[in-house]
Symmetry: C2
Subunit: 147 residues, 2 copies
DNA sequence: TAAAATACGATTATTTTAATCGTATATTTA
DNA sequence: TAAATATACGATTAAAATAATCGTATTTTA
């Protein structure tokens, strides 16, 4: 299995939403309701994104989160890093023997490293802008997303 | 997180080994010892590969497994399919509403589908040959792999 | 015909991921 | 300036996915 976690999925949907409302901060509570994401979980995810400078947190009664950068400057790889998610296809590709007890009996490292580099490049070159640009072409529940 | 499961990792190492010994069938037992992979687990994995026509099983006292095709004809995507592993970056990309309760509130499907297609293409275009061709350049425990 | 192999359903263990809980802290605005 | 509304975050629990194991049946060949 090779897939994005729910956390990444939530982050992408949330950042897309923030990208559609770049002027006003939106609270974690509102985001969790609009996007049907468990509040506590989303809240933590937003904190991680804030720590990494992807979004900015505004405290207070009219607070919330807004994007810290232009969508074109937010790479998927940044998001994955911010969430402490590992994107390596297998553990041993980092060259650390400790990563796998079979390290000395297994020889798929180098070829897989090549494949991984290509996947990384794809992930790096995809940005939040890609989640926004052809937005209108998607099936979209306008009422729920309030735009 | 976006990574290959242990099962895929085991399958790749095993197929690489079989690719280095294409003339003689090698038993699941021997493979499990040489590659330090739990026997029962590997055994099942090999059965799946056999059902999908990637390897051929030979019963009997001098039986074992050998590749059913040339390494260049064994695509990583075939292997992933054979092992019933899902390679979609998120569930909803298949267009099935049932795949996610948030289906109607979330609009990351189409853009992610694009990214996924590119990842699929990478996985499809990588073959067992890629695990074999620059084999000698890898750090390789010759004694253990008996070649 | 016995040894050595594959076949496979079922179960258990482990790990990872996801969700929740509780409490503390910061900011704004009425 | 105090109350309301936010964020911050460690700790715990729940759920799901992955990995490993067990037991038994079947097939082939030396």
């Amino acid at each position: 299995m090779i897939r994005f976690s729910k956390k990444i999925e939530y982050a992408l949907g949330t950042l897309q939403f923030l990208g559609l409302h770049q002027n006003t901060p939106i609270s974690a509570r509102e985001l969790s309701i609009k996007l049907k994401i468990p509040y506590e979980f989303l809240s933590k995810t937003l904190q991680q994104l804030a720590r990494s400078g992807i979004v900015i947190a505004n405290y207070g009664i009219k607070g919330g989160y807004h994007l810290a950068k232009k969508p074109s400057e937010i790479h998927f790889s940044d998001i994955i890093d911010a969430l402490d998610e590992n994107a390596s296809v297998v553990d041993c590709v980092d060259g650390l023997e400790a990563s796998c007890e079979r390290y000395n009996y297994c020889n798929i490292k180098n070829p897989l490293l090549e494949l991984q580099s290509k996947i990384f490049e794809l992930i790096r070159s995809t940005t939040l802008e890609d989640l926004l640009k052809d937005f209108k072409s998607t099936k979209f529940d306008v009422a729920n997303l309030d735009c």
